[in-house]
Amino acid sequence: MTGVDGARRPTARRAHTVLYPLAVCLVVVLLSFPTLLMLLGSLQDQTAIYVDPLGLPDVVQWVNYQRAWDLGGLPTRFRNSVISAVGSVALSTTTGLAAAYVCARSRAHRAAAFLSAFFALGLVIPIQSGIVPLFLEMRWLGLNGTLAPLILVNAALQLPLTILLLTAAIKGIPTEIEDAASVDGAGSLRILVSVVTPLVRPALITAVILALVTVWNDYFLALVFASSTDLQTLPLGLSSFRQTFSTDWPGALAYSVIVAAPVLLLYVLLQRRITDGMVAGALK
């Protein structure tokens, strides 16, 4: 703080040191209210929630989670979510890493710059614009009715950010190490895998996490390509649970907690990586 603050009257100073944190706490409580309400409602009794939706449950109703799990067909949806998230992120990360290596290290600078810009365009293209042709393309490829469209389209959507983050990371490492490996006779794929990849591990983890979270949460693509019961992912399962059991708010809120839990757990573990990665994606 500057000297000007120190010149203030003591009462003003005290107001500042007490009221300021209080204001912060108030903002936090207000903004976390919807999330807290989800947790609270997920433990509330099925009838009591209509009488006193803000009240604490008399007896904590873990059975809501059981109901969501059984009636919401959770095992299948969990599996579908995992397959499409892991599949698409594996595809976008491996192909994206190779592409980023070219963007960062190609000696044809103008071509590399064009390539980077071409991939960056994907950050702005609204996917909804291509949804009709995509749907017909997937049918033509015979992939409708499988999880493949979710994997392929999500991978394509994740590539721009993955390539952007990894290109920046690769540019940040000195070329001497690669030159030495190249003198030793290693080919470029070999150099990428055993020299470059270990050095960009932090950026790689960030890219993987951001992509996993986005695909895990996706609703629009799943709505178009995976609406049949056996293909539904968790977000779709949640919305169909809500429609089918429209009076069961505690069950639906418990379902929400189950959908949100893996992502929030990742966030608790890797908070800095996630926020920094999202800011980096925005600022470039």
């Binding site: 000297g3 204001a23 912060v24 903002v27 936090v28 903004l31 976390s32 919807p34 999330t35 989800m38 209509y50 006193d52 939706p53 803000l54 976008s92 190779a98 592409a99 963007c103 390539l115 991939f119 994907g122 702005v124 293209i125 609204p126 909804q128 614009s129 291509g130 949804i131 009709v132 042709p133 995509l134 749907f135 017909l136 393309e137 392929l152 394509a156 590539l159 390539i163 990428l192 979270v213 949460n217 996706d218 609703y219 977000p235 919305s239 809500r242 009076t247 708010w249 639906a252 809120l253 379902y255 929400s256 959908v259 949100a260 966030y267 996630i274 926020t275 999202m278 800011v279 925005a282």
Partner: protein
């Protein structure tokens, strides 16, 4: 080595979007042989009142959410831009909803707005108010757009906040010290030092918010399906409806072309305005 990424990216993003230009000129229904019908879809679109009101709703949504997110996000960033455990935790908690699925957010806010559960009336009762006009937020034409906007604003407030926090970090402390010597403290400091230097950051935050909200689909579809009586239909829900409920694939593709061009036009205009303001300030 770039080939695999190009195949995925072009094959499942660039090519379909480009192919939309072709489908826009056909009467494809997704099943029978499509005929080339020239600009008929666009002619019909020009006189389509439903689409016109969808455009107007999209503009309303974007205006409300973009302004609320940026005013709120900037305010919270200024409030929380200090060192200390409390502020660190506050930032983390406020960012958390960004990572929730839109289905989860729509469900929570659907519960808050539910006329049967009555969360809102109870909240008003706590502060001693009796408000009956908000008994069925999503079921009334006058409140459905602000109601959904509140949910979207809440979810992405933390994202806008971290962008502004990153911008605040780039302002050198020497500038604040120099401003203090000139007698600029409190609001004067905010007005003449912080805000002008945040202009590039604001441009980025606005672009991101515009890109996200001009293509609003999930929350609207989940919370109101564009209703009641089309009162919250956006261009994206209209496109989805044409394609997957009415099987008018060609018409949906034409709508998508107009919308994509419109979104790019808005964003390029916004960036150009900010670039000019930036030059003018120097």
């Amino acid at each position: 080595m770039v080939a695999p990424a190009l195949v995925v990216y072009i094959g499942f993003l660039v090519f379909p979007v480009a192919l939309g230009l072709y489908y826009a000129l056909t009467n494809s229904d997704g099943i029978s042989q499509a005929d080339f019908i020239g600009l008929d879809n666009f002619r019909e679109l020009a006189g389509d009142d439903n689409f016109r009101s969808a455009v107007w709703h999209t503009v309303q949504f974007a205006a409300i959410i973009v302004v609320a997110q940026n005013v709120g996000g900037l305010g919270i960033a200024l409030l929380l831009n200090r060192a200390g455990r409390l502020y660190e935790v506050a930032r983390a908690v406020i960012f958390a909803p960004v990572l929730l699925s839109t289905t989860v957010v729509a469900l929570i806010w659907g519960f808050i707005y539910s006329p049967l559960a009555g969360v809102l009336p109870q909240l008003f009762a706590i502060v001693g108010l009796e408000v009956t006009s908000l008994d069925d937020v999503l079921g009334a034409t006058s409140t459905v757009i602000p109601g959904i906007s509140a949910a979207v604003t809440w979810q992405f407030l933390g994202y806008v906040m971290v962008i502004y926090l990153a911008g605040l970090k780039t302002i050198p402390t020497e500038l604040y010290e120099a401003a203090a010597l000139d007698g600029a403290v409190g609001f004067a400091r905010l007005r003449y030092v912080t805000l002008p230097l945040l202009r590039p950051t604001a441009s980025v935050a606005l672009t991101i918010a515009l890109i996200g909200n001009l293509r609003l689909f999930d929350q609207v579809w989940l919370m109101s399906e564009g209703g009641p009586a089309g009162a919250s239909e956006t261009v994206q829900t209209a496109i989805y409806r044409s394609a997957f409920q009415q099987s008018r694939f060609g018409y949906a593709a034409a709508q998508a072309v107009i919308v994509t061009v419109g979104i790019f036009a808005v964003i390029l205009t916004q960036r150009a305005l900010f670039a000019r303001a930036e030059r003018g300030a120097r």
